[in-house]
């Protein structure tokens, strides 16, 4: 369970997040929706510990986010970055197996490669791509490799930052279906940043709408149609 209590963050004079509170039950998939610059990425970066909040607390399974809790949290977390963030100097399989090879487990090369190829298979990539470098892949394939890297090691928490950005509609739909399948299979708690309502309907159980640094609406996907919020209505109309 991820719990946010009164999270606030400013950059200079600009307030990016103002008193955001949220409880995300284990196994729930949350989509964070909002216009550009409303703090969606900042909120997820704060949860991941990449940015410190100015105020507020984060609790993981009821425990405050101390350094030790954060270390344990990250060991159980997979992240798909907006531009995939694959390491250019490593091959595809080395990217996917990075956590296994460099983390606490220190899995051997042969086993790590086998598990990386298995993860690649789960995201629909053939073993022959394993020895390619990220620069040899298309944007859609890079996303899939990023997904494989995120799910290896059976994470308990998954974060997806605009998983469809830069993809064609067909690949985008495939990625959404894949994310839903993986989240369901792994039973993971997932947070996805997206502007895409079609994605939200496929991926998410709950939606958080951020606007003007505040949580404007939070509810279940099934309640979206009946929500009385003009901004949400505009997103729904897209």
């Amino acid at each position: 369970m991820i719990e946010l209590r009164h999270i606030s963050k400013s950059f200079g004079t600009k307030q990016v997040l103002d008193d955001i509170s949220l409880t995300l039950e284990s196994g729930t998939s949350l989509a964070i929706l909002g216009r550009s610059g409303t703090g969606k990425s900042v909120l997820t970066r704060i949860i991941l510990g990449l940015i410190a909040p100015d105020a507020g607390d984060i609790l993981i399974d009821g425990q405050p986010m101390t350094r030790k809790v954060r270390r344990g949290f990250l060991e159980q977390t997979g992240v798909l970055f907006q531009a995939s963030a694959l390491f250019d100097s490593l091959t595809v399989w080395e990217n996917v197996a990075f956590r296994l090879r460099n983390g606490r487990a220190r899995v051997g090369r042969a086993e790590a490669r086998a598990r990386a190829e298995e993860a690649l298979g789960r995201v629909g990539l053939e073993p022959r791509v394993a020895d390619l470098f990220p620069a040899d892949l298309s944007g859609g394939m890079q996303k899939r490799v990023g997904l494989a890297r995120a799910i290896i090691g059976t994470p308990k928490y998954l974060f997806f930052d605009e998983p469809n950005s830069g993809l064609d509609p067909v690949t985008s739909t495939d990625i959404d279906a894949l994310i839903r399948e993986l989240v369901t299979d792994l039973g993971a708690t997932a947070i996805t940043i997206t502007h895409d309502m079609a994605s939200i309907r496929t991926i998410a159980d709950e939606v958080l709408l951020l606007d003007a640094a505040r949580a404007r609406w939070h509810g279940r996907v099934s309640d979206l149609a009946s929500a009385d919020d003009p901004l949400l209505a505009r997103f729904l109309a897209l």
Binding site: R45, L48, G49, L50, R71, L74, E75, T77, V79, F81, Q82, A83, A85, L86, F87, D88, S89, F98, R99, N102, G103, R104, R149, F159
Partner: protein, 261 residues
Amino acid sequence: MTRALLPLTLLGRAALGMLRRIGSVTLFFLSAVIRFPATLRYPRELGRAFLQIGWLSLPVVGLTAVFTGAALALQIYAGGSRISAEAVVPQIVAIGIVRELGPVMVGLMIAARVTSSIAAELATMKVSEQVDALTTLSTDPMTYLTAPRVLAGLVTVPILVALGDILGLFGGFMVATQGLGFNGPSYVTTSWNFLDPVDIVLSLTKGAVFGGIAVTLACHAGLNAGRGAQGVGTATKSAVQAAAILVLAANVALTGLFFGQ
């Protein structure tokens, strides 16, 4: 009154900014140093750093040293002939290369070649979220990216300086014996006898300091880069500028420390 104080205010602000940056880079260097033992967990990154900073710098460092030694011999011969002191070529080339030109030329070559490439590489990793990806994969970017490079800078640049010194002396030797009529064995004996062990210690110390400066500034600028392509460009430019200036400033300080009155 306020307007009259404006230049002082600006000067003070600039001085504070510089002190803040020096403090930040110093802490950054120390936090890399305390991670040296942990870099053994990443032998591939360590090997890559040694290759990138040491081995791949060898051609440019070697050629620069040979040409510098050769030109120095010609200059000293030409200048010495004005006061009938042409015979001092071996001694002055030896001391000039080992104490000053060898380490400084290597330091500047490293600042140009290595600082720019490391700063650009790490800045690109920063703006493309690869550094954040490392953190989320439970890997400390300082241990994985910075410490191996700083360690490689401290170890390989003195070796490059030693090789640069030898090749610089060789350049001077070739010009002196092939073009200026010096006797080969006598040239070598005179050069060697004139050098003091402290000259070699100074040369290698300068190498380690210059290597530390060039690589630390590169990593610091890269990991603190701003957004986008402009951020990468700015980080690279500022790292190379700062490294070149600091190498020259450190050279004066170290020479003063070793030979100052």
